[in-house]
Symmetry: C2
Amino acid sequence: MKKTIALLPGDGIGKEVVDVTVDILKAIAEHFHHQFQFNYGLIGGDAIDQKGNPLPEETIAICKDSDAIILGAVGGPKWDQNPMELRPERGLLGLRKELDLFANLRPIKTFESLLDSSPLKKEYVDGVDFVIVRELTGGLYFGKPSERIVHEGDDAVVDTLLYKRYEIERILVSAFEIASKRRKHVTSVDKANVLESSRVWREVAEEVAARYPDVTLEHMLVDNAAMQLIRSPKQFDVIVTENMFGDILSDEASMITGSLGMLSSASLSSSGLHLFEPVHGSAPDIAGKNIANPIATILSAAMMLRQSFGLEEEAKAIEKAVDNVLNAGNRTADLAEDGKAVSTKQIGEEIKNAL
Amino acid sequence: MKKTIALLPGDGIGKEVVDVTVDILKAIAEHFHHQFQFNYGLIGGDAIDQKGNPLPEETIAICKDSDAIILGAVGGPKWDQNPMELRPERGLLGLRKELDLFANLRPIKTFESLLDSSPLKKEYVDGVDFVIVRELTGGLYFGKPSERIVHEGDDAVVDTLLYKRYEIERILVSAFEIASKRRKHVTSVDKANVLESSRVWREVAEEVAARYPDVTLEHMLVDNAAMQLIRSPKQFDVIVTENMFGDILSDEASMITGSLGMLSSASLSSSGLHLFEPVHGSAPDIAGKNIANPIATILSAAMMLRQSFGLEEEAKAIEKAVDNVLNAGNRTADLAEDGKAVSTKQIGEEIKNAL
Ligand SMILES: CC(C)[C@H](C(=O)O)[C@@H](O)C(=O)O
Ligand SMILES: CC(C)[C@H](C(=O)O)[C@@H](O)C(=O)O
């Protein structure tokens, strides 16, 4: 198989974790006789520094000419005081909108070998296995007006939570599709006792649910969901929610396993061009030190192989190699006891060898 | 001291927990020679059933004629299918707006005797002691438009996140005032990398911080805050945030201690007429069974004595009685091992005796 992969390392530890991941993908290509071509693009702070734009036109072109995209991370204190248009996050938000990456998928699954890393007690996290499906191109993130105004004679500011009905429908369809291949339970999270958008969301969820008679739909208020994620995370199979709620809940959920450095994500578009990235950010404090955990990015690459290229066997090979390396006791600094950590490159080598 | 207290028991377990609390307040009045007059009002589902309105005019009048308000809880499945204006929550939201209860305070503090109840490991929760200050009368909860529209030719729906600058300022002032009497650290939570309202929030926070040179201000993005609450809850002293973020984060935070039935809250107005209520809801599944935990409401009454009436000694007496009763091993069903629970009324009696 011949595939073109856009690589957007971005900022901070982004470069290091993408480098290691490319090594793994090269090993996979060799072993399984595929041809992967890698095209690098600039995004985030790096792109601001080099091109004065967090999302240069070339980067969009590189992505559009590719079969899938792997992103490292964007952001860092260096650009925090910049005006909005010149901030790294704008690159990521722009890419989501430009490529219509409307469905963000975050699997939350405990690794047997890392059970003790969680802030939660073992009995709460052992066996957790769910996916958060977050809407990614609508809601408060993109609604207009988003500006300072005078309201009833007073200085005020407004943001807009806007959804088209079809945007709500397609994300719910994604969630039901995923659930139908899993344990067949969708928890739709909203704030229907306050928001009109949530009441439409609930209606559309019911409509979509009627098309999936074997999948159970449960509605849950967002405040309760924030509690339930801690109180009994095992109850969830697929959680689906709008953009801002999803931002908050998926980061909360990423703490359940206690191993943020292990969590991968996919952002899917209807065109078939998807983006894969680790859940963790650019971690500027540890950038360039060869201590970051590259596994989240490596597992994101496995998601890509499966989801974008249909390469199930190859994806499994990576996931199994990661498991083996962890079971053998290898840990990067984020998960290791003091003085026992292996480096970013070392753990990459171990995984490559385990393939 | 002579005070009038409005009692709004509301729905579900609301009545039971308010009943027990009134007993305690009567004991306090007797012991410390105060006169408390109690005026009952209808709210929520109960008010819908009896008056066809979740917030009858009489209830507002009763509150306005009182020196403080104690609320039980509102809501239940019975009214879930009602149209919006006839839902129990409308009573609560209406009361907040009507009385301008703009500052919701939720102390999150672990009880030594209940450390083991938390889903989090002991070392994460032992010593947790912070307050969430949530803006309660603005943002997405009350902004207009909140309605179905046609947008660019498509069916759509919109909600509005609106804040006047003075609303942002006064809640930040509340937070800094509270912090200046505590460990002098304010964490202001926003989503400034996406929302214009958050950028104004951040500006105002800086302005207010300049007036409190001995209080440290930290900005934190809401997604990160959702993580940090689990990862290291001890870092917080005072968290301040807007209405919807506060709704989500305060419910998440209520899981840290593992004892929702113990958590009290205050909603403060600028007029001096404040409302006190337990954090837990109406729990319709256990209503009328004499098994609910009344301590959250009892501790809310203690907050009232301190905050509204300046009765520090009386507030402490209640808090101490609660501590003693817990230390003696008394637990309601939510916290007890199987078969060892005491009833709502029993634990109320124990606390009264311990006063
Ligand atoms: C960087 C930021 C704009 C972004 C978001 O809020 O979507 C991030 O938090 C994420 O979840 O990918
Ligand atoms: C009942 C509901 C409208 C309310 C809110 O969202 O404010 C509740 O969740 C709360 O936190 O008091």
